[in-house]
Amino acid sequence: MALLEVRELTMEFGGLRAVDDVTFDVHQGEILSIIGPNGAGKTTVFNVLTGLYHPTRGEIVFNGHRLNELKPYQITALGIARTFQNIRLFREMTVWENVVVGAHTRLKSGFFPSIFKGPATRREERAAREQAYRHLEFVGLRGLETAKARQLPYGAQRRLEIARALAADPRLLLLDEPAAGMNATETAELMELIRKLKRQSITVILIEHDMRMVMDISERIVVLDHGRKIAEGTPDEVRRNEAVIAAYLGASASAGH
């Protein structure tokens, strides 16, 4: 059974149909990419999957739970975490605090324990911070824990978003253009990081414009254009697909440069 099933998903805003009858599955442990020209509806799919929008029609089932009506925080608790296309860090918070906020649903301290910090709360705080440091080490941000998020260079901010999402202990991680604005070296490091996630059996859906990266790392690719799914398959299949080539004006989809 698929980890995530998206069935006939349609998302309309007034008269605009941003996502139109899209169906796909994501299997446990795979890396699936969603590609398509600008405005194809890729980020809208992420926003629906994470509960920021409620779908107009269709159904989303994650790990046996129907997500359609759930709120973002409930979906996070079920095990879906994400990053954002335009970085949305908590800029005035420190790097480690950003990561601990990511672990919000995994921590328990409620209102009164937060005020009267008993031994259990203190223990949880300490463990959460140590865990955050491990996540930061994992994404290569060791040594920057107490800097403020806004002080980090661009590439590091993208990695911090990944660390923050990992802190939610997700089964499914949605990465929205993680390589945007990165140079070749940073992109190579990012790909290595995503492969490390896969080895930890985290399932990844990737939205990305860097075709070299997409073709290299994805096991399967879903192609959207004007809100519709126009192709799905392995990188090789998608590369040769007529509709995909047409959508990209016969340009970069096949070559990857």
Binding site: H104, T105, S114, K148, A168
Partner: protein, 326 residues
């Protein structure tokens, strides 16, 4: 209560300054609690005086009509205000930005006008005959408790959630934070302390009038918080202290300015906003040299020195092009 301590304090503080200190203490509690909502959670709240009014009138009515004692009436006033906080917060905190500001402003006026028109509160004639049971040691105790509780709260899982909401509400939701619930929590806690402050106010001045809790009071409280620094508790205490004492001080040296207190506040705020955009004790969004220096020191744990960051990440202070002071 605490009469022995009161006697001690009165033995070396003259009555004039004693009264000012009580007022400063009450305003500190109000500013601290408003800061939780506006500074930490980032929700512009223009009706804080209304929560103070709910607390003040609850205590005043309990004291004059029900014969309830001080030690019961003060917490009861806090709880009544907290209840008002939940009732007002649940519908309004779904609103954002300007809309929330307008809704809280409207709430403040509703409370004031209600108090003005009820018979039991004495309407425009006010409520009289409350015994004077607030004294300076009790106010100091209340300030210390409010400060300790709020400081502990903001440095916790709950507090981080509040700041995350301020920083980016969408990202906060996506990180698993039930944003409405946390905003209502902040609002309720703030209302509780405002209610307590209102009760202390009632038991100090012994007379309550709706005009003591108008829109301008909410604005003055907001000015204290902004002046001291949004998201900084010590700043709020400082802001409340300075902005309560200054008019008194000016009254003696420059009565003409004291009469135009609000003009003076306005000018003071403009100056602070130009020189310290985030308030006296707030962190500067333009990185100050001190911050850069501290960040660099702290981001350098001794064991990390052996190997430079593997990915060639520049240290924090050089990042983002905003570390001009480096």
């Amino acid at each position: 209560m605490l009469d022995w301590a009161d006697g001690l304090l009165r033995s070396f503080i003259n009555p004039y300054y004693y009264g000012i200190l009580v007022t400063i203490g009450i305003n500190i509690i109000l500013a601290l609690s408003l800061n939780l909502v506006t500074g930490f959670t980032g929700q512009l709240h223009l009706g804080h005086a209304a929560f103070m009014a709910v607390g003040a009138y609850t205590a005043g009515l309990l004291a004059t009509k029900a014969g309830v004692g001080f030690a019961v009436a003060v917490p009861a006033a806090g709880l009544a205000a907290a209840l008002a906080g939940v009732v007002v917060g649940l519908p309004t905190l779904r609103l954002r930005g300007d809309y929330l500001a307008i809704a809280t402003l409207g709430f403040g006026e509703i409370v004031r006008i209600t108090l003005l028109n009820l018979d039991i509160t004495g309407g425009p004639f006010g409520l009289r005959g409350i015994p004077r049971q607030t004294n300076l040691p009790i106010v100091i105790l209340a300030v210390v408790i409010a400060f300790a509780v709020l400081r502990s709260l903001v440095n916790s899982r709950v507090g981080r959630a509040l700041v995350a909401i301020r920083e980016d509400e969408v990202a906060a939701q996506t990180m698993g934070i039930d944003t409405t619930r946390y905003k209502v929590t902040a609002f309720t806690v703030a209302a509780f302390f405002a209610g307590v402050a209102g009760a202390l106010f009632a038991y100090w001045f012994r007379y309550l009038n709706p005009s003591s809790f108008g829109f301008m009071v909410s604005i003055e409280l907001l000015a204290m918080v902004v002046f001291g620094g949004l998201g900084n508790l010590l700043g709020s205490a400082l802001g409340a202290g300075v902005m309560t004492y200054l008019p008194e001080f000016l009254r003696t040296v420059a009565p003409a300015i004291a009469e135009r207190r609000l003009v003076f506040y306005g000018a003071l705020l403009v100056i602070v906003m130009i020189l310290r955009p985030n308030g006296l004790l707030g962190t500067s969004s333009e990185q100050g040299w001190l911050e850069v220096w501290l960040a660099r020191r702290r981001s350098r744990p001794p064991e990390a020195r052996s190997g430079a960051p593997r990915h060639g990440t520049p240290p924090a202070a050089q990042g983002g092009g905003d570390g001009g002071a480096a």
